[in-house]
């Protein structure tokens, strides 16, 4: 399927999103709420592009992350109109996370007007929802978006330590604005008002995961068995490949 992106012809698979095509072809489209592990959510609207499909007389704006390509089309990823939309989004989100390096940089890049900051909880959260997805994907769903309107925020039920939280910090890792606080000191990790004991890597001794996380993982595969941190796991794999004999 032929898709023209910014005047250049590209080949797309039927049904893939505009964003997937552009990412593969190295065409930059900014996003906040997209993560390749979860696909598009269409929540932040940063990835808006103009599309004119076969048989349509004029182009319209769609979210690139959720729009599936089904027929020949012309796509424009940068235009005056798109620029204006992105500038507005950055301007509004910067109110929530003005001191965050990502938003600071984007505000400058898009020339977004500076509006007075508003206090949000957790600080710098732009409500993209990636943490909810990460937690759900881990099979835990300890956090969700609570309340609504201006009070909407990501939290655990009753803002208390949740039985479902295993302290894996996957939520913090996918957060684009580093809004989720993870405090680590020696063998203790604090996250979402809950305290966890950390387990150290059996090879290098680095504290790398919570006991709850390893127990959970060992029930769902053999990830937790060796008790190796990420670095040592990679080294281990590399060694195994190197010494592999048929």
């Amino acid at each position: 399927m032929k898709i023209t992106v910014n005047g250049q012809e590209r080949e797309a698979h039927a049904g893939e999103s505009i964003l997937d095509l552009c990412r593969r072809e190295g065409i930059p489209i900014p996003t906040f709420c997209y993560h390749q592990a979860f696909g598009g959510q269409g929540a932040c609207r940063m990835c808006m592009v103009e599309i004119k499909e076969d048989g349509q007389s004029r182009s319209r704006l769609v979210a690139a992350c959720t729009y599936p390509l089904t027929k020949t089309a012309e796509i424009i990823t940068e235009s005056e109109q798109i620029q204006r939309i992105r500038r507005t989004i950055v301007m509004l989100l910067a109110r929530r996370a003005g001191e965050n390096p990502l938003l600071e940089e984007l505000s400058r890049a898009y020339g977004a007007a500076h509006l007075p900051a508003i206090t949000v909880e957790p600080a710098n959260c732009i409500l993209c929802g990636l943490c909810i997805h990460a937690c759900a994907e881990m099979g835990r769903s300890a956090i969700w978006s609570m309340f609504r309107g201006v009070d909407k925020r990501i939290a655990t039920p009753y803002d208390e330590a949740s039985d479902d939280c295993m302290g894996c910090a996957a939520c913090a890792r996918v957060c684009p604005t580093q809004a989720i606080k993870v405090e680590e000191e020696d063998a203790v990790r604090k996250i979402w008002n809950k305290t966890f004991a950390l387990v150290s890597c059996s090879r290098c001794g680095k504290y790398y995961a919570t006991r709850e996380e390893l127990e959970y993982l060992s029930k769902h595969g053999d990830f937790g068995q060796q008790q190796l941190c990420e670095t040592c796991r990679k080294k281990n794999l590399a060694y195994n490949i190197k010494t592999f004999q048929q």
Binding site: S141, I143, S145, M146, P157, E160
Partner: protein
């Protein structure tokens, strides 16, 4: 999670209410509404029990409970006073009603009196603008009320006259 001891006493009552519905996610809202009607709020214990029954994480049930205004997460008083603060009532000085209620019951909108008798809420419009300012207590409508009416009505429900 800390749960009030009183809620444990009610556990079997919650259980029979919850189990009168099939354990499917689509019954979540219906169960929660039933629970709210029955107890005037959603007890913490009930929220975890509902989550287990319909097979959803507690976070999602709590998210839904916190989203809808029809649900309360804290216990409500025996009498729920709803003061309309829609445009018409606002212009007709609904603030005065709230002032009077606060003076008498020491409770602001969203709060419940210490004796558990009254809860005070504001609503955006009751659709009875001709009767502005309007106040509703447990479904009974009081229209065109002023400060002294409020004082009298609250006394009828067992509230004190002006505390000071």
């Amino acid at each position: 999670m800390q749960i009030d001891a009183k809620e444990y006493e009610n556990a079997s009552a919650y259980k029979s209410l919850i189990e009168s519905y099939a354990g499917k996610p689509e019954y979540l809202l219906a169960i929660m509404q039933d629970m709210q009607r029955q107890y005037n709020y959603l007890p913490r214990l009930a929220i975890t029990m509902i989550a287990a029954h319909v097979g959803l994480p507690v976070s999602r049930v709590y998210a839904m409970a916190s989203f809808y205004k029809a649900f309360s997460l804290t216990p409500k008083g025996r009498f729920v006073i709803r003061v309309c603060d829609g445009t018409a009532c606002h212009i007709k000085n609904s603030e005065t009603l709230l002032d009077q209620i606060e003076k008498q019951l020491q409770a602001r909108p969203g709060e419940t009196t210490a004796d558990g008798l009254f809860s005070v809420e504001t609503v955006n419009c009751l659709g009875a603008c001709a009767l502005a300012p309007v106040m509703v207590i447990n479904g009974r409508v009081y229209g065109k009320v002023n400060r002294s009416d409020v004082e009298r009505i609250i006394k009828e429900y067992g509230g004190q006259s002006d505390a000071n």
